[in-house]
């Protein structure tokens, strides 16, 4: 099972991504609300992947990405971004981000980006059973 850390200053986005990742069979080991917390929690939990918002207070997603990858070259970090941030996304990719998710995040987008980052793994949404 893939251990993932979710980083976003928005409670709603963190919650949505967490729920989707759980449906895809991932284990959410940590949540961070800014880049500074992300760096700290990455060192503590050493997750297999991170979803990282770009625009956050205290320390941005790109600053956190650079810091994490300085110590861990294999870190799989997927940026979460809006349409207007293409230059920041390019900067993130140059600095080792494995992909990006455009807001609003959907389970389909999340599945595609995780399949690209981990081609050896299978990600399938587990549908909830409805009582008949």
């Amino acid at each position: 099972m893939l251990n993932v850390m979710v980083v976003d200053d928005s409670l709603i986005i963190r919650r949505n991504i967490k729920k989707m990742l759980i449906e895809l069979g991932c284990n959410v080991v940590a949540e961070a609300v800014n880049g500074q917390e992300a760096v700290k929690l990455y060192a503590k939990y050493n997750p297999d992947a991170v979803t990282m918002d770009i625009t956050m207070p205290i320390k941005t997603g790109i600053e956190a990405l650079k810091e994490i990858r300085k110590d861990c070259k294999d870190a799989v970090i997927i940026m979460v971004t809006s349409h207007g941030q293409e230059e920041l996304v390019m900067d993130a990719i140059k600095n080792g981000a494995k992909g990006y998710l455009l807001k609003p995040v959907t389970i389909d987008k999340l599945t595609i980006v995780f399949k690209k980052a981990f081609p050896e793994l299978t990600f399938e949404a587990k549908k909830e059973l409805t009582a008949v």
Partner: protein
């Protein structure tokens, strides 16, 4: 002034596609870029500043029923009553943030040099009125669950 009308046009277009296409809520009407001296704020309101090459405040406000509907559409999976109440408070800010972020490429000069501040939620506000040389531009979308309005103040 034309620049700010273009900014507001980009914002309300993205608001329309966000609410209509991304959230699946039928849009009944759209009013764009009315210059006003004052306007009444809807129930749930958030402010985000535009900086860099722009210098303006955006004020997004929503009717409560529309926010309830947006919560249903925006929030993924099952949600408890307590969680719903907590998340409802953040929805206006989240919608405004997403709409602006997505609209920036359609700002004048493709949004190059535009920056945005984090959102601030304002509760119980009723009216905004222009003073001196300030300018207020307003746009609105109507849905069957209520209205969403976006104003640009500079």
């Amino acid at each position: 002034m034309q620049m700010y009308e273009d900014v507001l046009g980009a914002l309300i277009d993205r608001m329309e596609s966000f609410v209509g296409e991304d959230m699946g809520i039928e849009i009944l009407d759209k009013n764009i870029c009315t210059k006003v001296c004052e306007f009444e704020l809807l129930d749930c309101m958030t402010i985000i500043g535009l900086g860099g090459d722009l210098n303006a405040l955006t004020v997004f406000s929503f009717d409560t029923f529309l926010i309830d509907k947006l919560v249903e559409s925006f929030i993924y999976g099952e949600v408890s009553q307590e969680e719903r109440a907590e998340l409802s408070k953040e929805i206006p800010a989240e919608v405004a943030n997403t709409v602006i972020g997505n609209a920036i490429p359609n700002f004048p000069n493709s949004g190059k040099g535009a920056t945005i501040t984090p959102p601030i939620i304002i509760e119980d506000a009723k009216l905004a009125r222009k003073l001196k040389d300030s300018s207020v531009l307003m746009a609105m979308i109507k849905t069957k669950y209520g209205n969403a309005q976006c104003a640009l103040l500079n």
